[in-house]
């Protein structure tokens, strides 16, 4: 059983023109010690799903459970102790840290019991910061270091799952590399399950064990990272992969995906991706495909794929495997 499980989660917001479904029935599971990537374009609902997963926004329908307990939306009351082991790290470490307190005292907030100082020092070393850094303020750190402080603060609660919302977005390549390595070691050495939300497919491919691809509020494909990358089963996954520019010096322009993510207030009929899909055929505008299992421990929501069968190889020109 997975540490964090989301089942058919729906999240609706009150919009100007009525209710908007940011997440329209999405399921995801994060087992301990595994890194699960969640990718998709902005506006696809991935951040909303992350927030719902930790109870920052209430789910309209569906179930969210963490270590067998239901995750309840965060209210003014103290969060039940057993849910504290589910942590969230935000995208921007500058706005999520208090500029007027030392980072050590902020990390210390999450430490229970005595020997707080020693524990804070251990946490700093764990994320690759010198123990002496504890007495400094957030502005004295680079972006990558601040994101490490944010991780140390999440680790203070001795979590079994950390949800990370675009943690790499504002970092330089080298800082990204350091951070990616840190994430891998958290999962492998501490057995923490990670839900890594990112639009950077290259880095997700490198660190994630499994990947879920989200489009307009729905998960359209789930697979282990390697098979997904080499043989995507959903045309949207294929388009996302083809759009990643490669630093190989060859001068090849990445493939663009025409159109934009439609307004979630009025999603297209049938398959939500069909207006942008180069493979769309007769059933696509009529009926929405369900996320069904395929051979090889994966699943896709696409009419091109036969449930239970080996995924059909997609063949959009210009796609490099």
């Amino acid at each position: 059983m997975s540490a964090l499980e989301l089942h058919d989660v729906v999240v609706e917001y009150e919009g100007r023109g009525g209710r908007v479904r940011a997440v329209a029935g999405a399921s995801i599971a994060v087992p301990a010690g595994r890194i699960v990537g969640l990718v998709g374009e902005s506006g696809c609902g991935k951040s909303t799903l992350a927030r719902a997963a930790v109870g920052l926004v209430p789910a309209t329908a569906g179930t969210i459970s963490f270590e067998g307990r239901t995750v309840t939306p965060l209210k003014r009351r103290t969060r039940p102790a057993e849910l504290v082991r589910l942590q969230l790290v935000f995208q921007n470490p500058y706005s999520s840290l208090n500029p007027r307190r030392t980072v050590g005292s902020q990390v210390g907030d999450g430490v229970r019991g005595v020997a707080r100082k020693a524990r804070v020092q251990t946490l700093f070393e764990l994320v690759g910061l010198p123990a002496a850094a504890a007495s400094r303020y957030p502005h004295e750190f680079s972006g990558g270091q601040r994101q490490r402080v944010a991780i140390a603060r999440a680790l203070a609660a001795d979590p079994s799952v950390i949800v990370l919302d675009e943690p790499l977005a504002s970092l330089d390549a080298s800082a990204q590399a350091q951070f990616a390595n840190l994430l891998t070691s958290l999962a492998r050495e501490l057995g923490v399950g990670l839900l890594l939300i990112s639009h950077d497919l290259a880095i997700v491919r490198h660190v994630a064990d499994d990947v879920s691809v989200m489009y307009l509020g729905r998960i359209v494909e789930v697979a282990e990272t390697q098979p997904l990358w080499t043989n995507p089963a959903h045309p949207y996954s294929e388009a996302l992969i083809a759009a990643v520019p490669r630093p190989d010096g060859e001068g090849v322009l990445p493939e663009s995906l025409p159109g934009e993510v439609p307004d979630p207030a009025s999603p297209p009929s049938g398959c939500r991706f069909h207006p942008r899909c180069p493979y769309a055929f007769e059933p696509c505008p009529r009926e929405e495909p369900l996320l069904l299992p395929l051979a090889g421990n994966r699943a896709a929501a696409c009419w091109l794929q036969e449930p239970g069968a080996t995924p059909v190889q997609l063949s959009r020109p210009g796609v490099v495997s």
């Binding site: 374009e41 902005s42 680079s142 972006g143 990558g144 270091q145 330089d172 390549a173 080298s174 800082a175 990204q176 590399a177 350091q178 990616a180 390595n181 891998t184 639009h199 950077d200 497919l201 290259a202 880095i203 491919r205 490198h206 990272t225 390697q226 990358w229 388009a239 996302l240 759009a243 990643v244 520019p245 490669r246 630093p247 190989d248 010096g249 060859e250 001068g251 090849v252 322009l253 990445p254 493939e255 663009s256 995906l257 025409p258 934009e260």
Partner: protein, 322 residues
């Protein structure tokens, strides 16, 4: 014949703790219809070196060196003359189209005002030009787009609008500073393709500033790698990215996840952090983070000099092919 030729550009910015050198002797040339890519970590002086050309630095900054653009010297040019030039022959697109577009003016107004100011054409001609531009950057339904406002467009479309405004007076050089950093990969691919088409169709030279070597690799013809306010390596895209010779270029490439790399192979991050401006180490600025540094690197600044197919600023040159 180059469009822009920069020599010995040196920029000092005023800070509360005294003046600091942010750009320290930068040389490069941009040829017609070329995409000249500049890459480096944040704080390496990429953006400041561009703002210096356009006279957009804060008061009391000092700029030395020379930047010749179409036979005219930009450094030391009176602000008024420079302002006439930039926006017409020389245009810039920034990372964040949310802040570079005026939120309260319609797209049509922002496009036509610009054209009328710089080219002195009448309202009708300006409108025709605006429609043409919107078509050029592939904004759907240009006629109705004229009457809409920036917030009614998505991030990618807004960046297209910013590019349309920049291109309004048919500039010869477009400076694009991280133009796709705030966008999704799918939208980014569209903008990169747009820039590539425009430079071929309009004989436009582009300076592309990016921290993303993937973006650099897909669009740039020539690349220049910045570190701590200096150029460390510069040359044709293929040579520099496929056979890097400066230890810093090599390290930057090694830090990236490679499609063919085995999983679980940790990424090789560069040890240490880039130096803060004002605290640039003596000698080669990269030496404290460099595995190949020798005695000389600690005290003597390596000059950017011709090295076969490229220019290189390294005393050791450890990756030179025999």
């Amino acid at each position: 014949m180059s469009v822009l030729s920069v020599e010995g550009l040196r920029v000092r910015l005023p800070t509360p703790g005294g003046d600091v050198t942010v750009v320290d002797g930068v040389d490069y040339e941009v040829r017609p219809s070329e995409v000249f890519g500049i890459a480096g970590e944040s704080g390496s002086g990429k953006t400041v070196s561009m703002l210096a050309l356009l006279g957009l630095l804060p008061e009391r900054s000092s700029v030395e060196g020379s930047a010749r653009f179409g036979g005219r010297e930009l450094i030391g040019m009176p602000r008024r003359t420079l302002r006439q030039l930039s926006g017409r022959d020389l245009a810039m697109v920034f990372q964040d189209p949310y802040t570079s577009l005026h939120p309260m003016l319609s797209v049509g107004r922002q496009l036509t005002e610009h054209v009328r100011l710089h080219l002195g054409v009448d309202r009708q001609a300006a409108k025709r030009r605006a429609l043409e531009l919107l078509g050029d950057v592939r904004i759907p339904d240009p006629q109705s787009a004229l009457h809409r406002f920036p917030h009614q467009f998505s991030g990618g479309m807004r960046q297209r609008l910013a590019i349309a405004i920049a291109l309004a007076c048919r500039p010869r050089l477009l400076i694009a500073d991280e133009p796709t950093t705030a966008l999704d990969v799918t939208v980014q691919a569209g903008i990169l393709r747009l820039l590539d088409r425009l430079r071929h169709e309009h004989e436009l030279s582009v300076i592309l500033i990016t921290h993303d070597l993937g973006v650099l690799s897909s669009l740039a013809d020539t690349v220049s790698i910045f570190y701590a306010g200096r150029v460390v390596e510069s040359g044709p895209r293929e040579e520099v990215l496929q056979r890097p010779r400066h230890p810093y270029t090599k390290a930057l490439l090694d830090a990236l996840p490679h499609p063919e790399a085995a999983k679980e192979k940790p990424l090789v991050a560069i040890g240490g952090v880039p130096p803060a401006p004002g605290r640039i180490p003596p000698g080669c600025a990269f030496h404290p983070r460099c595995a190949y540094a020798v005695e000389q690197c600690l005290s003597v600044v390596p000059r950017l000099a011709a090295a076969g197919d490229r220019r290189l600023a390294c005393h050791v040159d450890p990756f030179v092919e025999p």
